[in-house]
């Protein structure tokens, strides 16, 4: 089978997980995967009985260990996409996120894990075993009172090729290296079975460079996924492979590094646990400030939530990142709808942004291609300001406001006021589309965007 370069997003949730969109079904996921430019998607939530039944009914075997949507469903979805997006194949692999909460060494440990299974029989066996441990029917991401090491053992016993990847390893409350309830080393968590761990998910709040400050992590492949709770969030981070389209090839690439060619990352500041602080108290501090305050919030006097950056610095044994030999490069991107949203001055989920992205992808191809490799001139031909924004993005020229204590950060491409000046200049030529956006003007949420919606910006694209 031929090798292909493709984006994979192997951590998502279904509509059966808490706080997830009711649109998280396979049809929507397939539609959005094509729109984003992702070829391989995790099913998420396969331990949930209802989702598992949906998977069995809706998916058919494709390449070894992979599945695709049933033919007639797939045709329906292709019909609802522009020709530039419709033809791309989308494959699924069986995945689930498990939360383990347990005591080790007199401390409460809370760790999230991604588990992958090569076929339905193995997944069914895994589900049977977990049903004897906790309630897998109430949440697509089940909480189990089980030692992480035991979870790994159970996963490995269920099928040849099953594997486990610790999820968003740095988040303070729910991760293997988290400051609040994790460990200081991967080996401390999985003990005698730690050799079976070969990849780590960096999470939204960290990128590979941050991880390269810790020599103990050099041996792990660093993967990225969206952890999407709704289909439009798909692909906000991805892992890039250059392998056969095959479950076992993907696994092998993660095990050996050969065929693992990179990842698409958030700017880590955008992640909601990047720096330190207290959301409730409106306090955000960088690690040095946190140290200066002895880790205490100056408003409420309780310990602040220590973010990923600080935690990385605590465990770092290198002052600067050192890329391990063979480790692939990574791309830091801002999701296309967020960039369009900044320029339009309306929310990223607004109808107008949705419409614009639809127009752009129909003309230029999937969202990830637009961000990654469509020539800036081609983008600018359709949307001049976006062309400028993508050019800046590719040069890494972004303005960063770091997320903390569960609040997402904000990445901007333009200085405050800059867009206003640019659109004011550009406006006279652009009035022909005016009728399109009148209804959306109330959607601005921040002060900045409120100022912008007064201007006729839509035609600027």
């Amino acid at each position: 089978m031929p090798r292909v370069r493709f984006h994979a997003d192997l951590h998502i949730h279904s509509k059966f997980s808490r706080a997830c969109s009711k649109d998280c079904d396979l049809e929507h996921l397939t539609w959005w995967a094509r729109r984003k430019g992702i070829s391989l998607v995790g099913t998420g939530d396969f331990t949930h009985p209802a989702w598992f039944a949906h998977l069995r009914e809706t998916l058919v075997p494709a390449e070894p260990g992979l599945f695709r949507l049933r033919e007639e469903l797939d045709r329906d979805i292709a019909r609802r996409l522009a020709p530039s997006l419709a033809a791309a194949p989308v494959r699924f692999m069986l995945s689930v996120e498990i939360s383990t909460i347990y005591k080790r060494g007199d401390r409460t440990r809370k760790v999230h894990h991604l588990v992958y299974m090569p076929d339905f029989d193995a997944a069914a066996e895994f589900n049977r075993r977990l049903a004897r441990i906790g309630n897998i029917a109430s949440d697509g991401r089940p909480i189990l009172g089980l030692d992480s090491r035991d979870l790994l053992e159970i996963a490995l016993e269920c099928g040849e090729g099953a594997y486990l990847v610790p999820a968003h390893v740095w988040t303070p409350w729910f991760a293997v290296l988290g400051s609040k309830s994790g460990f200081d080393a991967i080996e401390d968590c999985y003990v005698d079975l730690a050799d079976h761990i070969f990849a780590l998910e960096t999470g939204l709040s960290s990128d590979p460079a941050m991880n390269w400050r810790i020599s103990g992590l050099d041996r792990y492949r660093l993967v990225s996924n969206s952890d999407a709770h709704s289909p439009p969030m798909l692909g906000r981070e991805t892992t890039l492979f250059d392998t056969e389209m095959d479950y076992f090839a993907v696994r092998r690439a993660l095990e050996t590094g050969v065929g693992h060619v990179g990842s698409v990352e958030f700017f880590p500041e955008e992640g909601k646990y990047h720096t330190d602080g207290h959301r409730k108290c409106g306090v955000r501090m960088d690690p040095a400030e946190t140290r200066a305050h002895g880790g205490i919030c100056p408003v409420c006097g309780k310990p602040v939530t220590v973010g990923v950056l600080n935690r990385v610095e605590q465990l770092a044994d290198r002052p600067e990142p050192v890329r391990p030999p063979g480790a692939p490069d990574f791309l830091s991107l801002v999701p296309l709808p967020e960039m369009v949203s900044e320029i339009a001055g309306v929310g990223p989920k607004s109808k107008r942004v949705l419409g614009e992205v639809e127009r752009l992808t129909a003309a230029l191809g999937p969202e990830l291609s637009i961000l990654e490799d469509v020539p800036v001139d081609d983008i600018a031909a359709h949307a001049p300001l976006l062309g400028e924004a993508v050019a800046r993005l590719r040069r890494g020229e972004v303005l960063r406001e770091a997320g903390f204590d569960g609040e997402y950060g904000v990445i901007r491409l333009f200085e405050p006021g800059e867009l206003k000046r640019m659109t004011a200049v550009a406006a006279p030529a652009l009035f022909e589309d005016e009728g399109l956006f009148g209804a959306d003007q109330s959607e601005g949420t921040s002060g900045l965007s409120f100022a912008l919606v007064r201007l006729p910006t839509v035609g600027v694209w």
């Binding site: 808490r18 347990y102 906790g134 189990l144 089980l146 409350w173 729910f174 108290c281 569960g406």
Partner: protein
């Protein structure tokens, strides 16, 4: 002899798997009270002054009044161990009686640890298993064959229907069967009518210890009196304030008149509590004070269990009360989900070092479990409702057992054959899987296999590695302990339990008060007592009032219903 010998030392749970030492070896939420003694103490000498005083009495009748968490089992097992190791008593002359299989197993494990390397072990039995072993030895005397069986409930109902109450027992005997009542009644009849036989059993069981003596009923009492002469080496241990089985015939009066029955008896009181915080013990003392059966009731806090206040919570409804429980669990764990953290209703650091098996929710009636289970399931917290989940009652078990070929082959092999023949009968296949652990324990001993099933060995279909929140009735909580305890439904009419419109019943109320005392004294660090303003009972939603048992509490914190806080937008301000 069936069920009367202690299980092997390493039995119970699945903790023994050659794993890193940091991991708790406790099996699933079954959490018997830990050995209580002075800090750092161990072995035969790790006893406090009161425990040592009890252990020092080696002969004659002895009554030990042991408050909750004072090291009752520790004292009993050390006493037996010392009789064997220091006073030359043959282990086979020692008999220890408990009320539950679980307690017997625990005592067996502890004794095995105290008597390493000995082949002969003291006999540890429940009243029923002791009765069964006497019947197995004396079967001819009551007209049974050596292979007599124990009728399960279905068989009993069948015979009752066919023969009526009058012909029932005769029909049982014709079928070479006994029922549960017979396991006490027949040996009692034998012993009460045969002095020689009595003398023989007295000679065998020269040292007898009885746990939970406040819970004996009249026939168990009479059986004990036959086994132990008035000046015999009988040790009774228990706590009259924890007598909670009056409704099924237990009579705390037997405990209170021990010194009349055994005039030479000495008495030792255990009052040093190692289990609970001082504030939990103060609340316990205030709960029991109006009805205590122990003059000068005293519980001295000696353990280090923090200073968390006892919390009272008034909820609007049963559902709101259950939500309070779920929220509090999350809060103490420092949030179990991103949702809990990001929506701001779990804000503690979770620094208590707790796991799910450290939590118990206790209630008066089994029906109350529903709302709690629903609230826990809604937020995905793993729980286990503990009830009498008899293996014999599980679907398919009766059919799987009936299909055994009855040969001398190991039972596990016979079960595999049953599974093969069952093909795709899911019920029988599931039953075989449940029966296998018992079959492996019994090897080829068919009689023991069937006896253990009949005596109510519990189904264990859970993975022993899993931690879960325990949901259990106050009765079932007896003998257990948890760092965090919720007692829900502390309402007048529910605790004390009373039918709507029923006359006040002071004696019944006193037992209900003791039940709350048992519940309160299960808590080590955190105790939450809650009640709802209204509750569905007997078919309709009725207003419920706070239980009068809470009236005496002085040092308590009151918390309101936690309402999820809305996320506040625009907190990107940088304060510095």
């Amino acid at each position: 002899m069936p069920t009367c010998s202690p299980p092997p030392a390493a039995g119970g749970g699945g903790g023994e798997r050659g794993r890193p030492p940091a991991r708790p070896a406790e099996p699933v939420s079954a959490r018997p009270a830990a050995p209580a003694g002075p800090p750092g103490a161990g072995g035969l000498d790790g006893l406090d002054a009161e425990q040592a005083a009890a252990v020092a009495v080696t002969e004659g009748p002895l009554l030990i009044v042991a408050g909750p968490g004072t090291g009752k089992t520790r004292t009993l097992t050390h006493r037996v161990a010392r009789l064997v190791t220091e006073h030359g008593v043959a282990p086979e002359h020692c008999l220890a009686l408990t009320f539950t299989r679980r307690a017997a197993e625990e005592m067996g494990e502890r004794l095995a640890a105290l008597l390493p390397g000995r082949v002969a072990r003291p006999t540890i039995a429940t009243f029923h298993s002791l009765g069964l072993s006497i019947l197995r030895e004396q079967h001819e005397r009551v007209g049974l064959s050596a292979e007599f069986g124990i009728a399960d409930e279905a068989r009993q109902a069948e015979l009752l229907a066919a023969e009526g109450a009058d012909g029932y027992r005769a029909a049982l005997r014709r079928a070479d069967l006994v029922d549960f009542d017979d396991l006490i009644a027949l040996p009692l009849e034998l012993l009460e009518t045969d002095e020689e036989l009595t003398a023989a059993y007295r000679d065998r069981h020269r040292w007898i210890s009885v746990d939970e003596y406040q819970d004996v009923d009249e026939r168990q009492y009479r059986l004990l009196r036959r086994l132990a002469p008035p000046d015999g080496n009988l040790t009774a241990i228990g706590d009259p304030d924890q007598a909670i089985y009056g409704f099924r015939g237990a009579d705390v009066g037997f405990f209170l008149r021990f010194r009349e029955d055994f005039p030479t008896a000495r008495t030792v009181s255990l009052t040093r509590n190692y289990r609970s915080s001082a504030r939990v013990l103060a609340a316990a003392a205030q709960v029991i004070a109006p009805a205590t059966l122990v003059p000068g009731r005293e519980l001295l806090p000696l353990g280090d269990h923090g200073d968390a206040p006892v919390t009272l919570h008034a909820a609007a409804s049963e559902a709101a009360e259950a939500t309070f429980v779920a929220r509090t669990v999350e809060e103490l764990l420092g949030g179990a989900s991103f949702h809990a953290r990001d929506s701001g209703w779990a804000e503690t650091a979770g620094s208590e070092g707790l796991g799910f098996s450290d939590f118990a929710v206790l209630y008066r009636t089994d029906r109350q479990a529903g709302a709690v289970a629903e609230a826990l399931a809604r937020v995905g917290l793993p729980f286990r409702k503990r009830s009498h989940d008899r293996l014999a009652d599980r679907p398919g078990v009766a059919r799987a057992v009936a299909a055994l070929d009855g040969g001398d082959l190991p039972l596990a092999g016979q079960l595999a054959e049953v599974a093969r023949r069952a093909k795709d009968d899911a019920e029988v296949l599931a039953a075989v899987e449940l029966l296998l652990p018992l079959a492996e324990r019994c090897g080829g001993d068919q009689a023991r296999f069937r006896d253990e099933l009949a005596l109510g060995v519990e189904a264990d279909s859970w993975d022993p590695r899993a931690d879960r929140i325990s949901l259990l009735t106050l009765h079932a909580a007896k003998g257990l302990e948890f760092p965090v305890v919720f007692v829900v439904g502390c309402e007048n009419g529910l605790l004390p339990l009373r039918m709507p419109g029923a006359e006040p019943d002071p004696e019944g109320d006193a037992e209900e008060r003791r039940l709350l005392f048992v519940g309160v004294t299960r808590a080590q660090r955190h105790l939450y007592l809650s009640y709802a303003a209204e509750r569905l009972r007997h078919g309709r939603v009725r207003p419920a009032g706070r239980s009068p048992f809470l009236d005496g509490l002085t040092d308590v914190a009151r918390v309101a219903t936690t309402v999820p806080r809305r996320r506040t937008g625009g907190t990107q301000l940088k304060l510095m």
